[in-house]
Subunit: 362 residues, 2 copies
């Protein structure tokens, strides 16, 4: 990446501020791109994690076949010019308005959408007039959306009859988020995709795409079954990935710079709360995020503008006014709270990137 | 309020969308203003809940003495013209930049700031040159920020010596958030404020303001001790208040309009996830929010763009494409995720208000 010269240090920032370390980001993108290429897997990163056009472009240039998005409105930040292929990894309910927006998006890029019901496929076909292609979403055990693998053919046939081009099957192995859960979730993912693809082929439908993957399950993806993986968090990483063992501290690309605003004997308080970090707090995590410079401290409470931190046993309290880097539990939530990311190289500020798809939920 | 004519129904909205019911909001504001006036308590609503200038103005016109804010940057949306008095209910760490912004804010309105340490008071005085006045923040049992009541005089004396005008004491009874916890938290609040005020007076400092209050504890506020209350959520209400018994369903002024996108035998899925509702989920809540039209259903899982709902026993599933109103668990988090609120009167759209202080964290 060509870079603006660094003209300021992080000390110019008012806290809290989201800081993106560019060299760490680039290394994350290239490491995963090399891994996918080595296995012959297409890499289609989920852009909902960063919502930032510049990062989408870096991913494409690092070898991604296209990007994944979660909503139609996110698409405007991730189509056009080099960004010529997006997958909406969501079984949309498409009415006239959403159909119109999908058709407009399809004039800027190849657009693929998920379906998980006969009615959903028919509504999609009716309102997009064949402008988009589809993947059938399969439930591989996460039990959110998606049809059971044995139900995939019925939806695919309905979609094809309605005039949609069916490209294959997709699943989200969200049940891989948990200590020790990734390998089993990835195994269920391959089985579900293989079974669904086989059902589609049995119904006379060609299957080119078997799409899976998430950051925790990525290393367990089966390249004999999958054709494509869609990790999102890998670009930035977060405290959940750190605690799942999916990344190391030096692979954390995004932190919230925060100031110590209050202290007492057994705790200190930072000015980064849930309105900066997000409130995600799965039961298996150690707290509401981690401190990159004090990894053994624990974020024991989080309110809108405060993080209460218990120092590791024996560790001294930081001084009032000291600045620390907080790693959010869920980086997708943190990025979506901020209008800009401060782009830095270590302690040097390189510039700012707008979070172009922030709040793009429709 | 003078209103634009309603020219459209809610059907013009793409989901998810935050919808503010104006008559419900107005009734909430007036009911609480009447209650405070009846007890002789000054009402200083916390604007962090709505972050919307128009709502701040309605609160002021309904009799609020001023507004409460959480950050300096929120202040720009809530000062100027009629909005001439703000309290930053936060023990800020003030450096040169934050001091400069506070001085600029103090040119638009009377500005009061909290302090909870001698060093914090000295830094505030150094960088604001007496442009703001202060309240000493006291910990009444929430154990986040604030000094113990017995430590309040030391901070107040240091603030006064540093040249700041000390107006009194403040506490946040955040330990009142929980079933059956409000009365005890309000009792601890009055005791802590009374003890701290007495300590200040003993040190020769005049005390005009004893500020407390939060939406759950409001009804238990002791008007013999408190001079001022700072509820925030009461304006809009949310699923937490509903489940605490602090509001009724017809007092819920803000909901996320959402569409049923997927169904299976025992659950349905809406297109409102944590990027619209926020991820707040205290252990004592029944789930990740409530459905205003299906109060006995339970929101059992929430991801970024999906809410998974289990219908009440025997209740039929809603149809694919049906639109339902979701009540967020924590309305302050939901509003902070959206750039606009759709202002409505029942099913009629009146207009849109910008969330002027969205993301204003510094």
């Amino acid at each position: 990446v060509r870079r603006a010269p660094a003209v300021a240090g992080l000390d110019v920032l008012q806290t809290p501020a989201l800081v993106l370390d560019l060299p760490v980001l680039e290394e994350n993108l290239h490491r995963t791109a090399r891994w996918a290429a080595g296995l012959g897997l297409a890499l289609r990163p989920h852009a909902k994690t960063h919502k930032t056009t510049e990062i989408g472009l870096l991913q494409r240039r690092a070898g991604a076949v296209g990007l994944t998005i979660a909503t139609v409105s996110e698409g405007w930040a991730f189509t056009g010019s080099e960004l010529d292929d997006v997958l909406v990894a969501y079984s949309l309910w498409v009415d006239r308005d959403r159909g119109g927006r999908l058709r407009a998006l399809a004039e800027r890029a190849v657009v693929t959408v998920c379906v998980d019901s006969v009615e959903g496929a028919q509504a999609l076909a009716r309102h997009t007039a064949g402008a988009v292609q589809v993947l059938v979403e399969v439930d591989s055990g996460h039990h959110r959306t998606g049809v059971p693998p044995r139900g995939a053919a019925e939806v695919a046939v309905a979609a094809a009859r309605a005039g949609l081009r069916v490209r294959g099957v997709l699943t989200f192995p969200g049940h891989g988020y948990g200590p020790g859960a990734a390998a089993r979730a990835a195994d269920l993912e391959s089985r579900a995709l293989a079974e669904a693809a086989s059902a589609l082929r049995g119904a006379g439908i060609e299957v080119d795409v078997l799409s899976g993957g998430s950051t925790p399950t990525l290393a367990h993806s089966d390249p004999r079954v999958l054709t494509e993986v869609r990790p999102g968090v890998y670009a930035l990483n977060d405290a959940q990935q750190l605690e799942l063992g999916t990344c190391t501290p030096d692979q954390i690309a995004l932190t919230a710079l925060a100031t110590v605003v209050s202290r007492r004997d057994d705790a200190y308080v930072l000015d980064a709360g849930s309105k900066v970090l997000g409130a995600d707090r799965p039961a298996w995590t150690t707290g509401y995020g981690r401190l990159l410079d004090r990894l053994d401290d624990r974020v024991v409470a989080l309110s809108e503008h405060h993080a209460t931190v218990r120092p590791a046993p024996g560790a001294p309290l930081p001084a009032l006014g000291e600045r620390l880097r907080v790693v959010p539990n869920h980086v997708c939530a943190a990025v979506n709270l901020s209008d800009v990311l401060v782009v830095a190289d270590g302690e040097q500020v390189l510039g700012r990137w707008g979070v172009a798809a922030r709040g793009a939920n429709t």
